[in-house]
């Protein structure tokens, strides 16, 4: 008799606990869990490079700035030197025709060469290298058309 009462007491207690356990959990709690899980999974599935695009963009910008800073200057100087220095023999000959003293012409050449020395890159030297004359020929025209004096100097 006592045992039966105890048994039914157990059952009552368990039933009460079950009822409490069966009470609905508000949907918001489930939704919060789902959102957290899905957002974490989505973040893990994102390709690795997607997180690095700002760095890539910054690197590209720096590269573009470096190119803008250096590349045009080289081109401009290459053109300047190329135009300023025609082949040495012809220049000297023309100087004689212009009637200007040859020293003036060679000063102009040395000015250009001097400017070349300040160029930051070896590339510039490569460009102007052939313009340094191996032999300097100076043609002096005298009043007598039959007398022409040539000075030929080594390096």
């Amino acid at each position: 008799m006592n045992s039966d009462r105890e048994e039914s007491g157990f059952e009552e207690t368990l039933e009460m606990l079950r009822e409490a356990h069966r009470e609905a959990i508000p949907e918001a709690h489930f939704a919060a869990v789902r959102a957290r899980v899905l957002s974490q999974l989505a973040a893990e599935r994102r390709p690795w490079w997607r997180g690095f695009w700002p760095y890539g963009f910054a690197a590209a910008a720096v590269a573009a700035m470096l190119l803008a800073a250096f590349w045009p200057k080289h081109l401009a100087q290459r053109q300047t030197v190329g135009q300023a220095l025609p082949p040495a023999n012809r220049t000297v000959a023309q100087a004689g025709h212009d009637g200007r003293p040859p020293g003036l012409q060679s000063a102009s050449v040395s000015r250009v060469i001097g400017r070349r020395k300040r160029l930051p890159h070896n590339a510039a030297y490569r460009v102007v290298g052939p313009l340094v004359p191996e032999h300097l020929v100076v043609k002096l025209v005298t009043n007598d058309p039959n007398v022409v004096i040539y000075w030929i100097t080594g390096e």
Binding site: I25, H29, V33
Partner: protein, 194 residues
């Protein structure tokens, strides 16, 4: 498990698992919806706090996503989830020793009910929380799975990683303690003390 089985047909669950394994997040969300009551409800009873239960649920579902290939059959999923949930609760308890539980497990709202019914429900929840709180961890897990979740002794033993005899013993002790607690709680003298 019966509750889960009633939610969706086995074919749908199998399809959802296959799609989730292939990386379909929508299918995985469907799987979560099917089993969220199982995971969150169990975790809530084992931890006593909704905040902890949500953390546990998140961890369990993330583990599920990573181990989908290991759970071969769809009908093996609930057992797997129970086992992982119980283990996650043990881990949490080890990381974060039990403090005085807040009344957060009592946040379950009984909206639209008259105050008398609400009071009774709140009272029941309070008794459930308090009686589970006073149980040792293993007895609590055994009682929750066996009596509240309705698993068989064999399923509980598998989920807890112990023998059926141990589970029977744990459940029996837990029931006796809970019954004593409830009797004391509702006796006029016990009420005054609590």
């Amino acid at each position: 498990m019966a509750a889960v089985a009633a939610m969706e047909g086995p074919d749908e669950r199998r399809d959802a698992m296959a799609a989730a394994r292939a990386g379909d997040l929508a299918a995985f969300e469907l799987l979560m919806r099917q089993h969220e009551r199982l995971v969150l409800g169990t975790a809530l009873r084992l931890t006593g706090k909704m905040e902890d239960a949500q953390d546990i649920s998140q961890e369990v579902f993330l583990r599920l996503y990573k181990n989908l290939s290991k759970v071969q059959a769809a009908n093996a999923l609930p057992a797997w989830l129970y086992r992982v949930t119980v283990n996650a609760c043990h881990d949490l308890r080890r990381r974060k020793p039990a403090t005085e539980p807040e009344s957060s497990a009592g946040d379950l709202v009984a909206g639209g009910m008259d105050p008398q019914t609400s009071l009774t429900q709140a009272e029941r929840r309070r008794v459930l929380e308090m009686s589970l709180r006073m149980l040792p961890e293993k007895e609590r897990a055994a009682l929750v799975l066996r009596d509240l979740e309705g698993l068989s002794t064999e399923e509980v033993a598998r989920a807890l990683g112990s023998s059926e005899a141990t589970v029977r013993s744990q459940v029996s002790k837990a029931r006796a303690k809970v019954h004593d607690f409830v009797e004391r709680y509702f006796s006029p003298r016990g009420r005054r003390q609590s």
